[in-house]
């Protein structure tokens, strides 16, 4: 019974809203701290969330981060409506980026995004449909042990 206990909260993110970049990730990070999770677990979740939040802001029209926490794991589902990714495998390679010159000048788009999310997650899935949007599903185990 207690195994089913879950904390769930949705966080909307607006595309192109650079002025609020990082706010959702910060809120999620603080929530995870208040839930008493291990500092390294919180940090990995925060870095992954930030990259996902930035991807929505930089490329999509709008999106949602759905956080769900159970005693054993943190799961973050990121859904956006946006242009989608044509070649997911290519987008996953470190250093690959389609960031515009403008974004790079702002210090964004170093091209580590998706690879960095995967690196910090224990389980990571990505599906994308061109012209519709992208969905990420990542899990981090709360015991801090990599599977």
């Amino acid at each position: 019974m207690t195994k089913d206990v879950v904390f769930k909260q949705e966080f909307p993110v607006k595309g192109s809203d650079f002025s609020r970049a990082g706010e959702v990730s910060c809120e999620i990070k603080n929530l995870l701290k208040e839930l008493g999770l291990n500092a390294q677990v919180v940090r990995r979740a925060a870095i992954a969330t930030y990259e996902a939040e930035m991807n929505i802001i930089m490329y999509a029209w709008q999106g949602t981060l759905i956080l769900s926490v159970t005693p054993g794991r943190v799961r973050i589902v990121v859904e956006d409506s946006g242009p989608g990714i044509e070649d997911v495998a290519l987008a996953m390679t470190e250093g690959y980026s389609t960031a515009t010159e403008e974004m790079r000048e702002l210090g964004f788009g170093a091209g580590m995004g998706l690879a960095n999310i995967k690196k910090n997650a224990d389980d990571f899935e990505i599906t994308s449909e061109v012209g519709r949007g992208t969905r990420l599903d990542l899990t981090i185990l709360t015991n801090g042990q990599r599977p």
């Binding site: 206990v5 008493g36 500092a39 926490v69």
Partner: protein
Amino acid sequence: MTSESRHSLQINAEKCIGCVHCMIACPTKAIRIKDGKARIIDELCIDCGECIRFCPQDAVDSRTTSFVDLNAFQYKVAIPATVLYGQFDNATLPNEILFAMRRAGFDYVYELSTICELNNAAIEMYLNTHPKPRPLIASTCPVVVRLIQRRFPSLCEHIVPIEPPREIAAKILRANLTRMSKVSPSNIGIIHITPCPAKMVSINHPATMEKSYLDGAISIRDIYKTIYQALRQSKEDTIMAHLFPETIFSGIGVGTALSGGETRGLKNHRTVAVSGVRDTIRVLNQVELGLLRDVDLLECMVCPDGCIGGPLTVENRFLAKSRILRLVSMMGERTVIDSSDMSLLYHKDFLSFRHSIEPVELPPLDADPVQAIQKANRRNEIFNLLPRKDCGACGAPDCRTLADDIVRGQGALADCPFAREEEK
């Protein structure tokens, strides 16, 4: 909890009228109004002193050392923060201020700007020899250290483990004064003249060593009149101070009273200087999200414009800042520290922390993960019943914090005058 607080800040119950100014201003939400008086929650307070600035009743006291306390010592030594040099008019030079302090009763006054420069050089050496992690964070502001320990525990390892100038100076004095003064070590009292209450806490409860080398800290506010009178008392002193330039000042060191002062000396590194407690929190949040990795040194000062904006200073900070800048340009960029001396001290670990900075765990919603999740859910439910006016009438700084207090058993929905009646 013991009744003896570890903090320097204290609410004066006689003056406090229970208004909400300090509570709203507190950046760590460490104040509640209970029974018509402000109360500070010990675990959350970082001694930044914002409450001192915002209290319209002057009801926040800072427990610093008083001049009278020094009578316990036969030999009295002062190490004034370089901020002090900007507190008097433009015609008053640092040497005159140091002279006046001797006249006011200190047996020895140690000039700190040289040590500020030494500290700077040691930070540079640390940066050169430690490529990771980035950004490193300077530790001179004790509030920043406390903030990181509590709110950003994963950044503890980013703090540069070099002691701040005031501690290095006191350590040097401890090593030499007994011989110089012929007074036994226990009869020598060394105090810092401070622009902020946090130095007192870092002296009483140091984060990086067993015991501070300092015996206390007198606020600039408290000692101002004494120095001012001593300055006015004798014109001869002024002449003597001019003809007796026994002290070497460092322009680089004096500049550290201002935000950006520590990074100014670091020509070969990428640096960022932040000041103000809210901006400091914002930037540390970004660091914790994995940003600013291309920055070598992050200097954070929680007071606006740096230590010059400390809550226990006297002069308005814009005037003070202009005076410090004037002194810096007068003294120039000339290095006064011998780099081989610094290197020797650095490698003998004379300048480094005794032990590393450890995170201070704030209590989670519940120690049991299942209970914690349930409380987080309950907190969201409660929050939805609240008006989100953040008015402070309940005694908590905002609706979100009241919801948090309620699930932690430290508040009730009935505290809110606006919560929906049927829910109470």
